[in-house]
Amino acid sequence: MKYKARLSLDVVFKYIFKATGFLVLALLGGILAMLIYNSFSFFLDVKPLDFITGMEWNPTGKVPKYGMLPLIISTTIVTFGAMIIAIPLGIGTAAFIAEYASPRLKNILKPTIEMLAAIPSVVIGFLGIVVVSPGIASLADLSNGLNALNGAILLAVMALPTIITVAEDAIHAVPKTYKEASYGVGATKWQTLLNVVIPAAAPGIIAAVMLGVGRAIGETMTVLMATGNASILPSSMFDSVKTMTATIAIEMGEVPYQTTHYFALYAIATVLFIMTLGANLLGEYFINRFRKYHAQ
């Protein structure tokens, strides 16, 4: 009888785990279905092409305008700006930790950087308002510094831990034999890093960057607090911008239920989802290539 009890317990747990697995899948599927379903309701009123290419976002005007191009461009320049700052800084730090830092320094740096990822985004946004934005304003002689550049700097800070951690793993995983071969023919540490280690770690570094991009595109609270939220077409990094995420967060609370405007926010979310999914898939693709390459 004891044996039978053990056997049935085994079966019970198999079904419990199966249920949890499917529950998660169902949740994700449900979210996706809800996004798409509500987006369709929106596209009954507004043509998808007009939505994507429209130059004006003003859903509460006399004639509501649902052009999300300014939002897409805002998200793009803030993300792009963040990456211009975070990529060289991140790869440089990763190379330093993996190749140059003493074991003791490494033991301090790595957890510190990982802790950076634990700072709530609202705190980063707060720092943006009280520190970075006044700094930009006084340096660039503007009335205020709540603009795309401010958002980019803060997002760079937020993407750095991801980029550094993944890139450091990639650089660290380059086989020692490659490095020995390079040192063996008289290369310096820098020559080895530049010509052998970084090319060998490239897939992992690209993955790190893509994951950083995914993080930056999806970030909401920080950009909402720090970029000024003017839904106009920005012409430079010093213009105030309203990103897709901030638009959803700001307007969702005030929009009447099941109006075109309400559905429009779902449509924005769908476009956002496609963008982050794209960045993450690209990142995953390069991570897998990187793994394959090192399995040899």
Partner: protein, 248 residues
Amino acid sequence: MKTKLFAENLNISFGAKQVLNNINVNFAENQITALIGPSGCGKSTLLRSFNRMHDLSPDAKIDGRLQLEELDLYSKTVPVTEIRKRIGMVFQKANPFPKSIYENIAYGLKINNLPHDKAVIEKALREAFLWEEVKNDLKMPATRLSGGQQQRLCIARAVALRPEVILMDEPCSALDPVSTLKIEDLITHLKEKYTIVIVTHNMQQAQRIADKTVFMYLGEVKEEGPTAQLFRNPVNEMTANYINGHFG
């Protein structure tokens, strides 16, 4: 015979672990010297101390004199890159760069600011007996070559820099017998121009190619001498046991 490379009163430890114990050994110019001994006896550690590969291990402590002719290999005034250019190395597992065959040879030349035109590359590949096999595929990734070809490419890469000494750390241990014989043939030719020190676990290999053999055990040189003599009439009992396969 002129001594090209030597170690005097050499002690090496990693952390608390003493790996080499008062080693005195010399290597004659244009000769092949084989280092033999059971695993963990310090052969590779000794080999790697000559081109300062231990610089990469922060806990390595090296004590004693190592010289390439008059040059003190651990002198503060000599850049380590210069030493590695003059003392080339071939590793146990063929380790071509993940680049093309051509780039694999050109890399070392480029970083040392030496000419790296096609004629130089061809000469190095010919010297490594590889040219005929790869002359039409110079742009091919080096990793697509067979194991033996990869190892000959690594030898070509070392030879391209015109070193004075080539250190070889069990270069055939991962190869089949045919590739091994090819490499042995190559090594025998190379001694006309270079001084060669080779670590090997293969007794037959040492007898086939080495002019002199050094037997090491537990971090000490137990016996050394002309290869034929050492294998025929070993003086030390441990040497006799080892070469007859009683331990190791």
